[in-house]
């Protein structure tokens, strides 16, 4: 180990992940989207090469609700990357936005209040490199 890692925000692969291009483009417009198989209509998240049901490789963009219920969550008291060190403790939630689709993101709020079933709504953050990051806050 020769260098101390500086506190750089872990960012999406973007250019390296063509499967995610449409998702991040929609996020920049403030829309939460997943994919729908053009052949059989099954929703797909995360994006993969083929539809797991019918093996088609043709997909459409599908908007999903920008709010939902906390299905599960985590609360971090330790940072595994320096960028998160100043945020401790922080929460991460897995949100059920519709049938069969859950979207993971950092929780913007007191993580000690987190509970399964809690209502949350989407808040998109812009990173330093302009990559949009999915976050969630408690719904009033």
């Amino acid at each position: 180990m020769t260098t101390i890692q500086s506190a750089t925000q872990p960012l999406p692969l973007l250019a390296d992940s063509p499967l995610y291009t449409a998702y991040f483009a929609a996020l920049r417009e403030g829309r939460l989207t997943v994919r729908r198989c053009a052949a059989c209509g099954t929703l797909q998240w995360p994006p993969r090469d083929l539809c797991g049901k019918c093996q088609s490789s043709n997909f459409e963009v599908a908007d999903v609700p920008a709010s939902g219920e906390v299905f599960t969550y985590s609360v971090m008291y330790r940072a595994f990357q320096p960028w998160f060190a100043d945020m401790l403790p922080y929460g991460v939630v897995v949100v059920q936005v519709c049938d069969g689709i859950r979207v993971l993101g950092r929780f913007l709020g007191d993580p000690e209040t987190l509970a399964c079933g809690q209502s949350v709504e989407l808040q998109i953050q812009r990173s330093e490199s302009e990559a949009p990051i999915v976050c969630w806050r408690a719904r009033k």
Binding site: Q5, P10, S17, F71, T72, V75, Y77, Y90, V94, R106
Partner: protein
């Protein structure tokens, strides 16, 4: 083992035996590479069996791509390698690899297969407990695009964070008693006191110390999380004919399997987030071996986290979901109880050798060579593996 009247559902039972075991020392801080440690453990397994390493005709490596098959041929002086593979399901790899070895031997493709693994968890450049996690850091983890595009930006970077999503939902759905995690932690540490190779030998753990330890990621305290050590372990799997030739210390493989959960590389989107690969694997393995759960004399269960032991007991069918904590109460899983678990101290208190050390301990128990930790009348034992985002494996051994 199999009733004569039934049609065999497999051709593996009692066709392959574990004839030799080998382990490096378990330390925190080594100058040796993982490649060297794995090769040394493999050599030790051959010596334990009483064969020359040059006679090996098969290699299966769990989780690691290095040593390569070429590295083994060179280091062990192998004359004629007939089969090899590398198995990639995290900590479920070693046990799954042993089942694959048994299959290859039953098929007659090889007779003396080394199955090996190891990892320098402590001396790694990016230790898992450190603040240095980066995409691809752990190596051989599936779903890199999910990690990099969804999880890392949200602050999920390390195994204890992945698995916390499962654990917190388990507590919510089943109202399981968290005391179960403490009982597992204390029992593993208690067993380590009797094991000469255990890193935590000489360091008993009390309930007060456990409860005083910090929560790192809800719901895991420091003492709910396994060791980070350096080391390697290997076993030699041989045919029935070879086992007869080599003598009485060979242990029979009665059955085994690997299994995968739905949505195997993505816990967040798993429809039933409590699903684990061990559920399907255990059903196959017990059917193969033709035995009941209550015929198991001891179990070496993959214990990267205390809660994972409870969950595997539930998914293997020893008890219902949520009842794992009740199952471990009353001393049941301690030496002397009905089902001693991790008689060597496990990953929690012996060493983290990806569960290959669990296989070694099972063989030692069935040979009757476990000394102070010997399970009385040990005839049938099981070993489990758990890996990546919920893959599972199991092997059932008997003497």
């Amino acid at each position: 083992m199999m009733e004569a009247a039934t049609v065999p559902t497999n051709n593996i039972t009692d066709r392959a035996y574990i004839a030799g075991v080998g382990e490096t020392e378990y330390v925190r801080g080594t100058a040796k590479s993982e490649r060297q440690l794995i090769l040394e453990a493999s050599t030790a397994a051959c010596r334990d069996a009483g064969i020359s390493p040059s006679e090996i005709d098969g290699i299966i490596v769990g989780w690691k791509d290095i040593p390569t098959n070429e590295d083994f041929i060179a280091a062990l002086g192998i004359r004629d390698l007939k089969v090899h593979s590398h198995v990639h399901i995290g900590g479920a790899s070693p046990t799954a690899a042993i089942v694959q070895a048994a299959g290859l031997i039953a098929a007659g493709l090889a007779e003396r297969i080394v199955v090996a693994t190891g990892h320098n968890f402590y001396s790694a450049v990016n230790r898992l407990s450190s603040m240095m996690q980066a995409p691809g850091g752990v190596g051989n983890i599936p779903g890199q695009e999910i990690r990099s595009n969804i999880e890392y930006p949200a602050g999920i970077l390390a195994p204890m964070q992945w698995y916390s999503l499962h654990a917190n939902r388990w507590f919510h759905e089943t109202k399981a008693d968290p005391l179960g995690m403490e009982i597992v932690a204390l029992t593993m540490r208690q067993h380590a006191q009797l094991n000469a190779k255990a890193y935590m030998r000489g360091r008993p753990l009390t309930s007060e110390q456990y409860r005083a330890s910090s929560v790192l990621v809800k719901p895991f305290r420091l003492f709910d999380i396994c060791l980070e050590t350096d080391g390697a372990a290997a076993v030699l799997v041989v045919s029935a004919a070879e086992a007869r030739r080599l003598g009485k210390r060979s242990i029979a493989i009665a059955g085994g399997a690997e299994g995968h959960p739905d949505s195997p590389d993505d816990i967040a989107n798993r429809p039933d987030i409590l699903d684990m690969g061990i559920r399907k694997a255990a059903t196959r393995a017990f059917d193969m071996a033709g035995i009941r759960r209550d015929e198991i004399d001891f179990a070496e269960i993959y214990d990267c986290f205390t809660f994972i032991v409870l969950r595997q007991l539930e998914e293997m069918g020893f008890c219902k979901r949520g009842e794992g904590p009740d199952f471990v109460k009353g001393g049941r899983i301690a030496l002397g109880g009905d089902l001693p678990i991790n008689t060597h101290g496990g990953l929690m208190s012996q060493a983290h050798t990806l569960g290959m050390n669990h296989v070694v301990e099972a063989v030692i128990q069935l040979r009757g060579e476990a000394g102070a930790a010997q399970v009385a009348d040990a005839h049938i034992g099981l070993v489990t593996g758990y890996g990546d985002f919920g893959d599972g494996s199991i092997v059932i051994l008997h003497n």
